[in-house]
């Protein structure tokens, strides 16, 4: 297979000026990542700073209601409140080994921005975060968190002023600052080698979950379900289960409001088509003329018109199933899990959970279902309260 491709998807569609830092990163991945020194340092950071391993929690109340055994892989318990730190602490360590003094990162909702900022603070790196001007306004709490960790937050005022344009701005900045700066890409997408690097760092989710299932349930799960925006928590939750042919892998995208004509964020399960954006060939939400369309989801972390190339390849090969649920289904799941199990999921993770709640009667009774709870929901309380008030 061609370098950097998953099936027909992936690649390195970037200006030549970005090839040297991408090649430098490829080399670093081959040389530094497998070294004992790096692995020991990363393991220590994951244990003592991030708080891994995260729990695999059985949900007795919802399981009884649904007639299946529901398990949650608790990435909400990782430092920062989401899986994002698995990636940023690893990339920050790698950046230091490369002699870089600064991280730059894009962020949509701010979760990856916060995770980058705290990793930079931990390891003594400078940090600049590119964030769409619209997101800076609607996610002001995360902006304040990033600044508290010492990061500079740059509001991106071009295009749609959201995540898509923050990535454009970060790529542009990286062209100019590649000598001193590592681009800490936030999801398993973008040009090679980022999809591989981020998967490598997020695969700890499924490494732990697989062992925990065997310990706690005595068997492998029948289903592993995760939400998909760019797809980093999902690729991390799937990776170790991929060779286990009987484990069904389900990626849940955001269908938005579900109203005809409204934007969504589901290039795999709704009307996406292959195209090139942000350095990769993947499934995109685009016009017939190849212009990228805006996306929408109530979960800011899923609000992206593309998807990581490995997911596009898993869909093409049939190894994973990609579906979508609407904003309402996710909001109901947010409330259900909070009330029944005392765990408040992020709206992103609520999409994965919502798909299970909605479809559990179609599962074989007693099936073991693992949902990747990619983050905690405190950040979403305002959105959920508005929804509940409207519903009442």
């Amino acid at each position: 297979m061609k370098k950097g491709y998953f099936g027909e998807f992936g690649g390195q569609f970037v200006p030549e000026l970005l090839m040297p830092p991408l090649l430098e990163l490829e080399d670093a991945m081959a040389r530094i990542l497998p070294s004992k020194e790096f692995r020991d340092e990363l393991a220590s950071e994951l244990k003592h700073f991030v708080g891994r391993p995260t729990a695999l929690t059985f949900c007795p109340n919802l399981s009884a209601k649904l007639g299946v055994k529901l398990w949650l892989k608790r990435e909400d318990l990782a430092h920062g409140g989401a899986h994002k730190v698995n990636n940023t602490i690893g990339q920050a360590l790698l950046a230091k080994k490369l002699g870089k003094t600064r991280l730059l990162a894009e962020t949509g909702a701010g979760q990856h921005g916060v995770a980058s900022a705290l990793a930079a603070a931990r390891l003594g790196l400078e940090c600049t975060i590119y964030m769409g001007a619209t997101d800076v306004e609607r996610q002001s709490l995360n902006v304040r968190r990033m600044r508290l960790f010492g990061a500079e937050v740059v509001a991106v005022d071009s295009g749609t002023k959201t995540l898509k344009d923050a990535i454009n701005a970060a790529l542009r900045a990286w062209i100019a600052e590649q000598e001193t700066t590592h681009y800490c890409f936030g999801t398993a997408a973008g040009p090679h080698p980022f999809p591989l690097l981020v998967r490598e760092l997020q695969a700890i989710i499924s490494r732990e979950a697989r062992t925990q299932m065997l310990d706690q349930a005595g068997c492998l799960p029948d289903y592993v379900v995760a939400c998909v925006g760019g797809g980093s928590n999902a690729i991390g939750a799937f990776h170790e289960f991929v060779p286990d042919a009987k484990v069904r892998l389900v990626g849940v995208e955001a269908a938005g409001t579900g109203k005809p004509g409204d934007w969504h964020s589901a290039p795999l399960s709704k009307q996406g088509s292959p195209g090139v954006l942000h350095g990769m060939l993947t499934q995109l939400i685009q016009t017939d003329e190849g212009q990228i369309l805006p996306s929408h989801s109530i979960a800011p972390g899923l609000d992206y018109p593309g998807v990581g190339p490995e997911h596009a390849a898993y869909q093409a090969s049939g190894r994973a199933l990609y579906v979508s649920v609407t904003d309402d289904v996710a909001l109901d799941a947010f409330v259900e899990l909070s009330r029944n199990e005392g765990i408040m999921p992020a709206l992103e993770s609520s999409h994965a959970l919502g798909w299970v709640l909605k479809n559990a009667d179609g599962f074989k009774p007693g099936s073991n279902v693992v949902v990747c709870l990619s983050g905690r929901g405190d950040k979403d309380l305002d959105i959920v309260n508005d929804y509940l008030a409207q519903k009442a």
């Binding site: 690649g11 030549e16 090839m19 003329e289």
Partner: protein
Amino acid sequence: MSTNILTKRIEAARAKGRLALIPFLPAGYPDKKRFWDEIDALDASGADIIEIGMPFSDPVADGPVVEHASLKCLDAGVNLKWILGELAARKGRYQAGLVLMGYLNPVLQYGLEAFARDAVSAGVHGVILADVPFEESDRVHAAFDPHGLVLIPLVGLNTTPARMALYGADAKGFVYFVSVLGTTGVRASFDTTGLPAHLKQGLETAKAAFPVPVALGFGLKHPDQLKELAGLVDAAVFGSALIRHIDAGGDSKGFMQIWK
């Protein structure tokens, strides 16, 4: 094999003892009608090659001036079908060589093969795709080469001699050398105080690596800069400078007079 027309245009300028001038304008800028008047004026005012931008929603190699202009054109309904259709209607009208510059995705959706066929029959000689590095150029060459449509390589200050050799092996037309580590129009690479040593060295490396002329782009703001470049490059590209000139109320004819 006969010399590519883009190479010929640059060599003709060199024979006259000057740099070839390559103005760039996004298709449909400042509006869909006036754009073609400006192209006519550029051609009549001595442009050796004219670069026409194909707008894309996510232009990562461009700075704010070109991005803003491109998005404005997209809003006005500019697309590849319009660009190629209008060019086809004007075929044979221009003395200058014609190059289209943009990003892969719109071309991919048009169909690489159909695009190559339609571009050549509309009189286009070469294409620059800013997000297609050597590693991803196979499929583009496979579609363009049979039609004689040239994919113009883009290299810069951080392109090693080894990578230049990859591009140089079968380069046709000319090579586009980006003068700064940055995006279009963002900052000048040098001013009238002289050429930085690393740029001079990069240009010398490119001259040695490529069998075709070298055009310098990004960051040209003042005519005195051209004198510094004599002997180092064969052509100069003007992108955001022309857009700024038009935004300030000027026109292409006036712009070309500054640089000639």
